[in-house]
């Protein structure tokens, strides 16, 4: 049971758009997880990111930090390091396995044991044919990944202590590893250590841990250690060039830019320090480095750092991703453009796909956690009040069902029908289906009974990534793990596959079914939107590509239109019958406000107001907006503040809720708003290293 339950009904008056009573749900106890490591694939422009619970996320940088996929972590499978090889993604964990991730099915494709205990770090050679893993046993394990395999190849001589970080020289066959008190340079061909660089200790009895090491192409080795020092070594001679006390505590991570002139480091003290190469003396190849700028945006330990194009991206225990402009950290280039030094951006861990489903007819909501599902009855009231009033509840919200998955298998998606009579969820492989009977729902103790419906043995439905019930509750439309659209028919005793459409795309991630059960729309990461006819079982049409992904889509109540919100914040309406964009879209597609387009967070849900078909409800984690299609768009240069003063405008924006997980319109002008306040969200974080701050 949750310890604190917030369920408040509030009145919301959104600038003459009508009055709403709001189920202000605050009992969704989703907790963010700290970031463990990151790896950027420049060809795909995707950032792979792992969190401490072993979950993996894929972010599209091209679409302005759109969270494409979340691969939930499996218990006991931690991810310590991530490496891209072309389009293949490898992970290494403390269970001793090196895994290749299937990016379509979102599970493990291949796995290979290190035979040398837990794996701490992973590196790839520049050709993308070998992987090197640093292990607890103190040896480097080489793996063959050529021709799409993942096989154990060989291991180097083992040293007496663990290897915590590893870097493969880009040209020569050299591997640099860091461990306890020393850095070693290995020859790949012989498997023998060529150099051993001893790192000094500050305290005689306290060993120095090398947390991170990078080998530059000119054999300059950069290391970060537990003394808080960032050291630059001449790898050929094995001598220390410079050691800079850049941090107050351990340096966890390092990154170098493509020109190898800038190195950034960060660690427990959460400051990000930039080092620049300066050609120190004339007629000398002595490379001298100076620490230049410090950024302090994180509140907790920084675990991972990456330089992506001209940006530094950092992530750590405080679960946020923070992006700086590297050119503005650097020397004058940024100042000439008069860019302010504080140009940075925070990307919150809030999932960009809704984890909440609402059964609107009976005021029941479903909350999807990683390993369990909760079904709640919302509180209700008959009172009304003025804007901002908190209405007294006649009955409090009650948790009806808590359903745990078997064997620690994570949940991929879930759904519930409008009258809460059926519920379904899917893990990686299988789809599970339940019928629910609710009695005396308005009582203090409603009766709940749940029955599992077994899949038909001859044609069991596949595991799903998205699912949606039709409104007549006879069918369940899913996007399977192999990215096909599948129609399952629901019988009282079993559920069976009715039809599977052929695979049109490898990466479907959004699904919606029209209210008259005739159409289904799906969207993929390649910016396509397909519409299927469920009755005639055929692909109807595709929406013209916009060059940006769709982050939310929905059918209109009359089932004639599909409305789509793109990652560039534009909203398009597509007429399914006419197979063209609607007149409203044609008129307004170029007249969105700049302030609106510049928003960082992506629209996570868009829907029509069932009571007024000209109103669109859309929200992201920061705000929700009612878009009135009958009104004119404001001027392009209007800001949000100026917008509030206008009498009639298409955009009605409410920024009352911070970290809005879900917002849905119910009949009779009720809203369900699932909010997770910032304090609650970060309350589970551990204590950070104390930093002195001037003036406090």
């Amino acid at each position: 049971m949750p310890l604190h339950v917030f369920m408040v009904a509030e009145c919301e008056n959104t600038a003459k758009m009508g009055e709403f009573r709001v189920h202000h749900v605050r009992f969704f106890e989703w907790t963010p997880k700290s970031i463990q490591c990151m790896s950027y694939n420049s060809s795909k422009q995707r950032l792979a990111l792992s969190r401490c619970d072993g979950s993996l996320e894929l972010w599209s940088i091209k679409d302005g930090w759109y969270q494409e996929e979340i691969i939930p972590g499996i218990e006991d499978q931690s991810i310590e390091d991530l490496v891209w090889q072309g389009t293949r993604l490898f992970t290494a964990g403390l269970d001793g396995h090196i895994r290749e991730i299937d990016l379509v099915k979102l599970n493990t494709k291949k796995s290979c044991h290190s035979n040398a205990g837990p794996v701490w770090c992973l590196a790839s050679n520049s050709a993308g044919t070998r992987l090197a893993a640093g292990t607890e046993d103190g040896c480097v394990v080489l793996l063959d990944t050529e021709y799409n395999v993942l096989e154990y190849l060989t291991r180097f001589d083992s040293q007496d202590s663990r290897i915590l970080c590893i870097s493969w020289h880009s040209g020569e066959d050299l591997i640099v590893t860091g461990g306890i008190d020393n850095i070693r340079i290995w020859s790949v061909s012989s498997g023998k250590a060529m150099q051993r660089l001893t790192v000094a200790r500050t305290d005689k009895n306290k060993e120095t841990v090398i947390w991170s090491v990078i080998c530059l192409s000119d054999m300059t080795i950069v290391s970060g250690d537990s003394r808080g020092k960032t050291s630059f070594w001449n790898g050929r001679q094995g001598t220390l060039i410079k050691s800079i006390q850049s941090h107050k505590a351990d340096v966890y991570c390092l990154a170098v830019d493509s020109t190898e002139n800038i190195v950034v480091s960060s660690g427990i003290d959460s400051s990000v320090v930039q080092f620049n190469y300066i050609a120190a003396r004339e007629n000398s190849d002595w490379r001298d480095w100076v620490g230049t700028l410090v950024h302090n945006q994180h509140t907790h330990d920084v675990r991972a750092i990456q330089i992506i194009n001209k940006y530094v991206v950092t992530g750590g225990v405080d679960t946020n991703l923070i992006q700086f402009n590297l050119s503005s950290i650097g020397s004058d280039v940024g100042h000439k453009r008069h860019s302010s030094e504080n140009k940075w951006k925070r990307i919150t861990p809030v999932p960009q796909k809704s984890l909440v489903k609402v059964a609107g007819d009976v005021n029941v909501i479903l909350l999807q956690y990683t390993y369990h599902i909760e079904v709640w009855r919302l509180g209700f009231t008959q009172n009304t009040g003025n804007n901002g009033d908190i209405l007294p509840l006649r009955s409090n919200p009650i948790k009806l069902i808590q359903l745990k998955t078997k064997g620690g298998v994570p949940i991929f998606c879930s759904s519930i029908t409008q009258d809460a009579s059926f519920m379904s969820y899917s893990d990686c492989d299988t789809l599970r289906f339940y019928s629910i009977t609710l009695e005396n729902l308005t009582d203090i103790q409603p009766g709940v009974s749940m029955k599992k419906i077994t899949p038909a043995t001859d044609s069991p439905p596949d595991g799903a990534h998205c699912m949606c019930f039709t409104s007549d509750k006879t069918r369940l439309v899913t996007v399977t793990s192999s990215s096909c659209v599948q129609i399952c028919s629901i019988q009282p005793a079993s559920i069976s596959v009715e039809h599977t459409f052929p695979q049109l795309s490898e990466s479907l991630h959004l699904l919606d079914v029209s209210k008259d059960d005739q159409f289904a729309a799906v969207a993929d990461h390649d910016c396509n939107v397909h519409v299927y006819n469920l009755n005639s079982i055929q692909h109807v049409c595709s929406v013209p590509r916009q060059g940006h992904q769709v982050s939310a889509l929905s059918f209109s109540p009359d089932s004639k239109m599909v409305v789509m919100a793109y990652t560039n914040q534009k909203i398009f309406e597509f007429d399914v019958n006419q197979m063209e964009f609607s007149d409203w879209t044609k008129k307004h597609s170029q007249s969105f406000m700049n302030a609106w387009l510049k928003r960082k967070s992506k629209i996570t849900k868009i829907s029509y107001n069932p009571n007024n078909h000209n109103q669109l409800f859309l929200h992201d984690e920061q705000l929700f907006c009612i878009l009135d299609k009958t009104q004119n768009f404001p001027h392009i240069k209007r800001s949000f503040e100026e917008l509030k003063l206008e009498k009639t405008t298409a955009f009605h924006i409410c920024m009352k809720y911070k970290f809005l997980f879900h917002l849905e319109v119910l009949p009779d002008n009720w809203l369900v708003a699932v909010e997770r306040p910032q304090l609650d969200l970060y309350s589970s974080l551990p204590e950070a290293l104390k930093r002195k701050k001037f003036g406090t």
Binding site: I244, N276, I278, R281, V290, T292, S331, H335, S340, F694
Partner: protein, 749 residues
């Protein structure tokens, strides 16, 4: 051996930078002249010297460069910013490859940066009063805190062993490389006040008879003892005992507790101070402290501290003087007067108990008058009378029993009386007071105006040893006079460049120096005064004849002497400044107006009818007589004298009683002519014989903050010593012969 090559022709000079700041810290030349660098607001311009091609670097908005220093190894330039950041620039000769590092400890703008000679350490200083030593290679830093005042300049000795820091309060400290203070050179402490509105010396300047030093505000919360004879600061006495804290923001300076009044008793045993703190938000704090000089410690020790002695600003704090004429065994006494309408008399009482013998100060009595705010207060020379200003009234009290004696009130002038001073010695029956527009001398015997002059006095002080009073006008003119005599002994126009704040006479023993000169009034005490530029000035003889222009300034006043020398003199000055103003009048109570005054003033402030009666009748009598006499003397003045509002040299309403006064008036009138003639002769002979031009001697008040370096200060100190050379007899001889020749030649023509 160093050899100096002789250059042929003048040295060539090239202009490196235009638009350069006059602050030396804002430009720098690299080692061996490899580059030169200049900072100006937001940009730093570096020139590679042989090529002379400028490279510009900029910093962010909101930031501004304040100083620059080049590393002696030539690799790096350090710049200081107004937000306290130090940037170290590498690769500064290329615009796009430049790399900068931040060192940030200072919270306020940096004043100066300095590299040590080998370039390994960087010294920085600013408003925090902390000298910081950076080792940029290892990010190590060391601090030397609580220096007392913001740092202005830092230099490093060539052997790397000593650092010299120049502080904002006119102090140079020599610091060893491990931050031990080796030597301190201190001049007159400069007040940190920079705003134009506030007075940098609220306590003014007073004379400490024991140490024979001038006492004025020093460091924040301190008073400094400054020996004018030796021209050096003796010490700073901490009055408020609070550490100086630099403000969070330079635009909103922190309000510090200031010593607003300081006073010594006649023999220098007791010091009384009032400190005041008011930030406009919290309840103001005020403390009256009495300090006793401890001969063992050779310092003042706190005896009594009184919290909030008054509810409003205190205007004066005076000890009762003890002189040869005063009653022996008189009680130690001090008076404070405040805008809250009260003056308090504090007396020294016995506080001995079984544990110790002690004395303490307590408030003995409180006086007030008509609910008016009290202004300044003054004791008479013998301590038997106390004058306290209340609005436009001067009230005279007996300090022993705090009994009200008399109120002097000039009904014609309703202005608030600003200053009040009792005369000394020969003028001890006189009381000098000033208002916004006039200077008035009262006779305490008749309680009436002796004479009055229309002038704007901003500062009034008296010599404790003679009966001389010095007054400074708002147009910065100096007048020295005796209260009984309206003829000024000495006057000088524009003695200072800025407003005079305070002045004091300092007794000295160099009597012969001033005899038979225009400055003979300084034979007992020298006059020192402070102006708003924080300069301490004195009037002294000048040996250089080139300044004879100023002499003419002095002499020319005597050309056409009128009835009252002072009045015309003053009007002469004021006319020079404001020709339109018609201030040329010596106030004289016309007879009709005397009656008016008599009836208009409140009966309770008037003297008894018997005292009023005689002067009233007498005034009528004198009027007719004087008319006749004046008519005989000067028939041209008939029309003037017939008018009732005519201008007369002396106050006719006055003086003791009956016929005697009649006589006296007559004699005074005739005497005045003589005096005038005498003074004419006197001044002529003065100008002939002495040729003493007047030099305004500026003591060491520094302006080192902006334009001078540490070396320049040393030079300045030397110069000051040069001023003190004495006028030798040969000089006088020379002056005399020259002027005599001029005189004879002019007489021939």
């Amino acid at each position: 051996m160093m050899t100096i090559k002789k250059l042929k022709g003048p040295p060539r000079s090239t202009c490196l930078f235009q638009r350069c700041s006059n602050d030396v810290g804002k430009a720098c030349i690299g080692p061996k002249g490899s580059y030169c660098v200049m900072v100006n607001k937001k940009e730093m311009i570096v020139k590679n010297l042989p090529k002379n091609k400028p490279v510009k670097h900029r910093i962010d908005r909101k930031q501004e460069f304040t100083c620059v220093a080049g590393n002696p190894n030539g690799q790096c330039i350090a710049t200081g910013c107004n937000d306290g950041k130090i940037f170290l620039w590498y690769n500064f000769l290329s615009e796009d490859r430049a790399v900068k590092t931040v060192l940030h400890w200072h919270s306020l703008a940096l004043r100066e940066l300095c590299y040590t000679q080998d370039g390994s350490y960087l010294l920085s200083g600013g408003h925090e009063c902390v000298l910081v030593k950076w080792h940029p290679e290892s990010s190590y830093k060391d601090y030397m805190p609580r220096l007392g005042a913001p740092l202005n300049h830092i230099v490093c000795s060539p052997n790397n062993l000593l650092y010299a820091t120049c502080l904002n309060d006119n102090v140079i400290q020599l610091v060893t490389s491990n931050f031990d203070i080796q030597n301190v050179y201190q001049g007159l402490t400069r007040s940190p006040h920079v705003s134009n509105t506030s007075n940098p010396f609220p306590a003014g300047v007073t004379y400490d008879p024991r140490s024979e030093a001038l006492v004025l505000n020093g460091k924040p919360g301190h008073i400094q003892f400054y020996s004018v004879q030796e021209d050096k600061q003796l010490y700073n006495l901490d009055i408020v005992c609070q550490n100086y804290i630099s403000p969070e923001n330079l635009n909103t300076p922190l309000e510090v507790t200031e010593v607003i009044q300081a006073s010594f008793d006649s023999n220098g045993e007791w010091l009384a101070t009032i400190e005041y703190w008011n930030d406009g938000v919290m309840t103001p704090e005020m403390r009256l402290k009495f300090w006793q000089f401890n001969t063992e410690k050779q310092s003042f020790v706190l005896n009594t501290s009184v919290e909030m002695p008054h509810e409003d600003t205190v205007h004066s704090l005076v000890f009762r003087p003890v002189s040869s004429t005063s009653t022996p065994g008189m009680q130690h006494m001090a008076v404070t007067s405040s805008s809250d309408g009260k003056f308090k008399i504090w007396a020294l009482v016995d506080d001995t108990d079984i544990y110790r013998s002690n004395r303490k100060w307590t408030c003995e009595s409180v006086g007030f008058y008509r609910n008016l705010p009290a202004g300044k207060a003054a004791f008479s020379e013998d301590g038997s009378l106390l004058a306290v200003l209340f609005g436009s009234c001067i009230t005279v009290w007996n300090p022993e029993n705090n009994l009200f004696k008399v109120a002097l009130h000039n009904t014609m002038l309703q202005d608030t009386v600003k200053h009040v001073v009792f005369g000394n010695h020969g003028s001890s029956h006189c009381l000098v007071s000033t208002t916004e527009k006039t200077l008035t001398v009262w006779s305490l015997i008749s309680c009436s105006v002796l004479w009055s002059a229309s002038t704007q006095i901003v500062c009034l002080t008296k010599d404790p040893l003679t009966d001389i009073v010095a007054a400074f006008t708002s147009s910065r003119d100096l007048f020295v006079f005796r209260p009984i005599d309206p003829t000024p002994l000495f006057s000088h126009a524009e003695v200072s460049d800025s407003t005079i704040l305070s002045a004091a006479f300092v007794p000295h023993s160099k009597k012969s120096l001033y005899e038979k000169t225009t400055l003979s009034w300084q034979s007992q005490s020298e006059l020192y005064f402070l102006n708003k530029d924080q300069e301490l000035l004195a009037v002294s003889m000048e040996t250089d004849r080139k300044l004879a222009k100023k002499k003419e300034d002095v002499v020319s006043f005597e050309q056409n002497l009128p009835q009252s020398a002072l009045s015309l003199l003053m009007s002469h000055h004021s006319n020079k400044l404001r020709p339109h103003s018609s201030l040329n009048k010596v106030a004289r109570q016309p007879d009709g107006k005397f009656m008016k005054e008599m009836f208009s003033s409140a009966p309770h402030v008037q003297p008894s009818v018997t005292t009023l009666c005689q002067p009233f009748i007498q005034s009528l009598m004198i009027l007719s007589e004087e008319r006749r006499k004046q008519g005989q003397n000067d028939s041209d003045d008939d029309d003037l004298s017939e008018e009732e509002d005519d201008i007369r040299p002396y106050q006719t309403v006055s003086l003791d009683s009956g016929l005697e006064s009649d006589m006296e008036v007559d004699t005074v009138d005739t005497q005045s002519v003589e005096v005038i003639n005498n003074s004419k002769l006197q001044t002529e002979s003065d100008s002939d014989e002495n040729e003493a031009a007047v030099l305004i001697k500026k003591k060491t008040k520094n302006k080192l903050r902006n334009e001078t370096t540490v070396t320049a200060i040393c030079e300045k100190l030397d110069k000051v010593k040069m001023f003190e050379e004495k006028v030798t007899d040969e000089d006088l001889q020379e002056i005399f012969t020259q002027d005599y020749s001029w005189f004879s030649s002019s007489s021939k023509t």
